[in-house]
Symmetry: D2
Subunit: 344 residues, 4 copies
């Protein structure tokens, strides 16, 4: 049993991590932290039931936590994770960070994108980007894993193999993504209030979302030319799920793309390439760690369309974190992770 701390456990990803952990045979949550709720139990704060209901929030003081755990999941905002990661690693605690703090190899890109100074550029170098299916071998040996953003997860899984193997043109790549509202985190703002999300649909941060530089940096690892992606995120009036519609130019037939991706991901328990003609939907991945990818072609007009769906709180956050945990601690990749959808 590996003991773990969830740092910042009152947000949606922290809670989802705790929920998922309950079905994991080797992952035990020993510490949960919250500055605001310190001293109260999960049951008191969230009327939580199940295995971890009586667990009590502590202050996020690494010194007091480190000796009790082998791994820390950092579910804190970008900018707040740097120091915690550093000091956990110093004490021999492995780190899986949900923030953007270590997602960029290039700390300057991070600083430009997040407008936050990075105090540990050397850790950026050391960190492994936790897109499990792509960087699995490195993740197995990692001390510090930067869990990917939810949008990038949905976008990179279909694009990386195709770019790397020269099956699509390097430009244009247009990404129209739609995310459930839990992707925004737990926020008390009118913008995210029920009446102002329900029965509405809105785009935000058009051409300026911080996940786009993350997408580009990772795609560039697999291309000799500089990759640029046009990225538009939208807010869906649902709790969970990301749907990315990606417009590219295929360099071969859709059928070959299908076969290639099918082969590429044949050992990956959580990536499903759906047969040509079928369209994956959020309901098929809700409650699972799956990423389902569909391939379409507008032959007449010469474009390829890729559709990718994930549950943003699972494959887009806490599930992928556990998938990475599994590799880091030598367990089978799919240990304790759900694949069966919450159909309704």
């Amino acid at each position: 049993m590996i003991k773990a701390a969830v740092i910042g456990a009152t947000g949606y990803t922290g809670l989802e991590l705790i929920r998922l952990s309950e079905n994991h045979p080797y992952l035990e949550i020993s510490v949960i932290t919250s500055r605001e709720k310190a001293g109260k139990s999960l049951k008191e704060v969230f009327a939580w039931s199940g295995k971890y209901a009586e667990l009590v929030f502590e202050e996020p003081v690494v010194e007091k936590i480190a000796e009790r755990v082998q791994v820390a999941f950092l579910c804190v905002p970008s900018g707040k994770a740097q120091e915690m990661a550093y000091s956990s690693l110093q004490r021999g605690v492995k780190v899986i960070d949900f923030s953007a703090d270590f997602r960029f190899k290039n700390s300057r890109s991070y600083e430009n994108t997040y407008n936050i100074k990075h105090n540990y550029p050397e850790l950026c170098e050391k960190a492994v980007y936790g897109l499990t299916e792509i960087f699995g071998e490195k993740i197995k040996k990692a001390e510090l894993v930067a869990n990917p953003g939810c949008y990038p997860t949905s976008v990179l899984l279909p694009l990386i193999p195709l770019l790397k193997n020269n099956l699509i043109e390097k430009e244009p790549i247009i990404i129209d993504s739609k995310s459930g509202t839990s992707g925004a985190g737990r926020k008390a703002e009118n913008y995210y209030s029920f009446c102002e999300v329900n029965e509405d649909f809105k785009a935000y941060k058009i051409a300026s979302h911080r996940h786009n530089p993350e997408i580009e940096e990772k795609l560039n690892l697999f291309s000799d030319e500089q990759i640029q992606t046009i990225f538009t995120p939208h807010l869906l009036p649902i709790n969970r799920g990301i749907f990315s519609t990606i417009y590219v130019k295929f360099k071969t037939e859709a059928e070959k793309i299908y076969k290639f991706l099918k082969e590429f991901y044949k050992e990956s328990p959580f990536v499903e390439i759906v047969p040509i003609g079928k369209i994956p939907r959020i309901a098929e991945v809700k409650g699972t760690n799956l990423c389902k990818i569909g391939i379409f072609e507008d032959k007449k007009r010469g474009w390829g369309i890729l559709v990718s769906v994930i549950d943003n709180l699972i494959k887009g956050a806490s599930g992928q974190a556990i998938q990475n945990f599994n590799l880091m601690f030598g367990f089978p990749e799919d240990t304790g992770l759900p694949k069966t959808p919450l159909f309704v």
Copy 2:
């Protein structure tokens, strides 16, 4: 054309009032106020279109507003309306108050219920309770109308005629109400955030909601014995609408109750008694100023069940305010008010 001010125009009831006014041939919104948004237009703040889009929010200073309007709609929180009402009336401006400040004849009841001191108890005496169908004659002559709470509107319309005419037992009266989330107002709180209202349903303030004393005070006006109502409000994951299920003991057959209510409301353009066997639903009143009432009987078990539905923002707030405005200024009661539902 009657010129009006909307004081506190950035909440849902204020905005709905402005929207509805656009279809009113004699009501012109001349002033809108907001401390926070003063200096900005409706278009700037809410991307508003239509007739009033360019109207600019002002500070809520009665002195500066009074001379420009004949009536003020006060859409401010309970406790904040007292002074504004007093000072508007002093300057000859009629007042329709959306808060609870003047709903109680007995200012002591108000103070106990809202835990706010009342500085104008004499105005409580003078104010007319704006349940249009019941107090219409007094409203015609009123200077100050206390617009009813949304729950009380849905509950009093079916109960008052039945109690007054001795067609139901005086106890028990059990009211199980369900309200759309806009009933809570425009609030930036996790409790009202999309993810925590959507796919959930919750009761709140069981046996302690402040609309219950309001309901009881008004029912008592029509009964020689003291009336007590058991009242449970619930939060629905929809934007608009109240559904009240009311359990009482009929003193006569359902058919007679039906005929009586039908007769009682025959001149009321907005109250519909639906035929025995039909169940009114929120979708039938959404977007309208209607109150639809259904009558059911569990003969075997000896209980009557009344079902009442309204759009909380219209008949439960801004529509009823305009209905009262119509009477106060000598227009036909239904001037400018919608009766056709937004079916979807």
Copy 3:
């Protein structure tokens, strides 16, 4: 490993049973049936992933299924289960029936309520009503378990112990229940279409719902006087969850009711009595097999209010079926069943 058949596996309860089974260490789904989809796999029909994705629907022919399984879960409509249950039992296959066919001891009540002739009245006698917490001892020895209706589950768990122990008056008992739309099953009707459920709320079958006689029959087992319950079901615009607000007369203080229920259910892993003052909500039980019960008192007015919440597809159907399966096959009651909520 106990092998099981899911008869009628294309409805919501059948699918949920399959989903939940995946986490059960001793329950294996070996057979799924569907007349309409026979020959196709779960993956083909529902784009299903996970352990059972490749399972192929068969025709529901008991003769061909019986030898391959030890238990059959019947997820077919009321009236269709009788014959299948009989013929499964004849072949030594235990039966857990989701329909109403064996819920009534008195087959005449069944016939009156469902307007369907019962061909196996003797099986009604033999069947055990599968409200696990109450009839657990009998369930352990049962060959045929009648899984309770979803509404009755939410209502009987709070009421039976209180009635049995004389802590509430025998009348009135008023039950105002609200159910998520999956409770209606998988139906292609305008009434259940997205646009006509979304942003609406409606009551249905007021004073005539078929779950009320079921509730009354079961309550009567615990009372010397005839119990009558007033029952109003409503349709919530959410997928999952039942919320029952129950109005009764307490014969003692709320605090004692709380302590009594807490004690009564102390060995029950899935019933939680929430502390006085706290209100359980659907979000707290969504995705779990829990029933959470809250106790309130309107002291001034002399009424008790009980609030009970469940996930209708789990504790109200497939979860409770597995709970019963656990007892019937000698496993711990909570084997494989979730207690941690899907918070969002």
Copy 4:
């Protein structure tokens, strides 16, 4: 007062047309038809209230209707409108057709797209495409108006002026559209059931939707080169609204595009070009006949992004039909049409 018939008045567009008509000073609905509901009133079938509640559905027999009306709104499926339009026109009744039957100038394109034979190709020539802002002058004189599809309305309003004036490249044009569920019409199918739309999001008819040839035919009218558009429709879990995100290459700066469109639509009461930097959302047009258009630029990557929102039942169907009616009968274009949003 112009008397009108609504042919096929039990669908969402027919009902919305009736609802909107109520606020129109010169449009009177005299006839409503429905094969299935003939003999029943709007009140009986839809619990309808308001001016037209007592209107009774008739059989759709043109001979019996023609003499009583001056205009017929055809809200019937594509393929069913041809004959009705022909026979109405023969009798001197003007026609506004909601189906696709007369949207294509080229009846062969219609036949290929809809796989329905066209019996009145000469009427296709005669029909005027009812995109009011673009074809207003012709609509004024039209006997037969083909009301545009909902998606094409949202797409053509931003694109036509830009293409025509050579402000964007002719390719690529990528259109990612999202529609509320009412866009699918009133359908009793599992695919559109509440539980299977709610909390889900899905694409459909990728690269094969029938609105794409309609979009292309109309764009081609304004281009010397053949225009091809990549079009992906998605289904939103909301009742109303279309949101189209359109990716193009600007030939000038965003600011100039903004000024040009602003100028182009300066006389159009229902098209709003929102200031650079602002993103229009569905909530801003819900309940209105508006189309709001936002302009964005990803300068670094060289792409323009246009965002267009409408209420699919109003500007995308019944509102635009009334807008066309206004022109055809000599009334101001905006007579009786709403511009103020249903903010919640």
